[in-house]
Symmetry: C2
Subunit: 331 residues, 2 copies
């Protein structure tokens, strides 16, 4: 039979409470005491029972990272993966473990939102809605929303300056003299899509340019779709001289189309991306893009959530991480 | 005060056991009964307590994906991320959630290996050792090892045909007439490094070619290091006519060096990668590489582990997923 905490206490001569503390909060127990507890534990092959400990404490030290099912795969998504990585690192530093799941895992068979797993708080990434936030709140589950902005009291949303980033990209192109600028937009969540498209429109308005609808295309954000879409645009007799791609995967696909058409970049066509994903400096020529501080987004979301778990009440706030233009070789 | 399961049972007129089953195993409860239970639950705003339920069942339906700390970041690692994604999908399909952590999370302050978290089994990815596997076993924790081969009884290891893949790549180059073939090898775990290097050596031996040590370089597997290393090799007066890169990130860095040196690919220098990561078909020209079935690796590891959790005893086995040559534009 497995050794219990009482067996360890008997063997080392300390109380059950001390043995428990030696494992749960080692820094609160004197070095010498700890060593004797550990020796006894090792001799008896005792280890603390994680489930029982969570039950007693009413805390699990777990955080859920929940992503909207349609945005899977999260891990292979070049935008979400560095955010997730940063959440992971922040949690590790603060002593929390990370669960990863989709919104489907939060639904009961009756459609009700329910936390079926052992977690102390949830980061809702991407598309989510006020109803889900309210349902989680009713279960006393702290929530932070990531890469979206939802209008609910006392809710913290962490996003980036979507509109400002698009404006930066577009002004960079108009300053270089471009007038016929196309947009290839990924079909992202309305929050992201609308803000980036508004930046495109407003920058054209600034230079008195009307919007040419042949130059506005929305696609599924894959490199293949982008190559196809850009090939068509670039074969128009009055083709655009620059293309604003609303993420770097689209920009990479567009770059392929331009290279295959034998166009010189940026002389014949300039290309600008968004996000500053890993891929942007792996391709040749390297992409000009708008840097989104994905590490900061993940870190802020995790820290805000942990503060709530540990008792703080957040104000209603939308935290926007700043963006930055990164000029490389495609503009 | 929060509603309990007894309150729900009172309101809907069914027993506590039926209410419990309606949430835990909905398919074992008649549709009409379930609906009445859910209505009562909704009216009372009752949801099952995850921690308490795990305590009663002695099962958590959680799986831990543990990666060797030095191989972080896991999520941004182009080799591990699709494996992780596949583990995630397989777990979701089988009703398990996934924890992600590093080997550090499994160590007690006294250095002992200990599962501090609520999980039913563990996938140990990358570098790990027999001691850790034995320690986990003593805690009755099922383990599967991924991308490594460890010699322990009844242990399932899931890896790929590292040696065969290297041989495939090299024979492809020698068949195209190459004799001066360099290797730029990433400093991976010994299991991966040694097998891929042996494939390189044996293929050269097959054509009676001796190994030129100027053409053998080991680097940290980043694109930057690869570009630097390849630039040096390609500036030698008797430069290699082909370079075998032991992963695609290295191959992408090597491709950059060749393009910047104004060399034609593959006429002046051929480049071959390993893994068939996402990046291999995003760059232009697209990379010839060795496809590793990362989805299969993740799926097999998860399924093997779940079988163990659900009571099967595995044989001692090393499962090698097959590899395949993917010829694109760089050879």
């Amino acid at each position: 039979m497995a050794a219990t905490i009482l067996d360890v206490a008997d063997l080392c001569g300390y109380s059950k409470a001390t043995v428990s503390r030696a494992f749960a909060s080692p820094d609160q127990v004197a070095e010498k005491t700890r060593q004797r507890v550990y020796e006894a534990a090792r001799a008896l092959n005792y280890t603390p029972d994680a489930i029982a400990r969570a039950m007693v404490r009413g805390r699990t030290d777990n955080i859920g990272f929940v992503i909207y099912e349609k945005q899977y795969p999260v891990v292979l998504n070049p935008f979400y993966s560095p955010i997730f990585e940063s959440v992971l690192q922040t949690c590790a530093r603060k002593g929390y473990s990370l669960f990863i799941s989709s919104d489907r895992d939060l639904r009961l068979p009756n459609g009700q939102t329910c936390v079926k797993k052992q977690m102390d708080g949830i980061i809702l990434a991407g598309q989510s809605d006020a109803q889900m936030v309210m349902d989680l709140r009713r279960q006393n589950m702290p929530v932070v929303v990531l890469n979206n902005a939802i209008d609910v009291d006392d809710l913290t949303c962490v996003t980036t300056d979507q509109y400002g980033g698009a404006l930066l990209a577009m002004r960079h192109l108009t300053e270089r003299g471009h007038r016929k600028i196309a947009i290839i937009a990924g079909a992202f969540s309305p929050h992201v899509c609308t803000s980036r498209y508004n930046g495109y429109c407003d920058a054209l308005r600034e230079i008195g340019q009307t919007i040419d609808l042949r130059f506005v295309q929305t696609i599924e954000p894959t490199a293949e779709q982008a190559t196809q879409c850009a090939s068509m645009m670039l074969s128009l007799p009055d083709r655009p001289t620059a293309i604003f791609c609303t993420n770097d995967t689209i920009a990479v696909g567009t770059l392929k189309a331009a290279l295959r058409a034998g166009l010189r970049i940026p002389q014949d066509v300039a290309i600008i991306g968004f996000d500053d994903s890993e891929i942007s400096h792996l391709v040749e020529p390297e992409l000009t893009t708008v840097r989104v501080d994905k590490a900061a987004m993940g870190c802020i979301a995790a820290e805000q959530l942990i503060a709530q778990i540990e008792g703080e009440t957040p104000p209603k706030q939308v935290i926007q991480t700043p963006v930055e233009l990164v000029i490389r070789q495609t503009t």
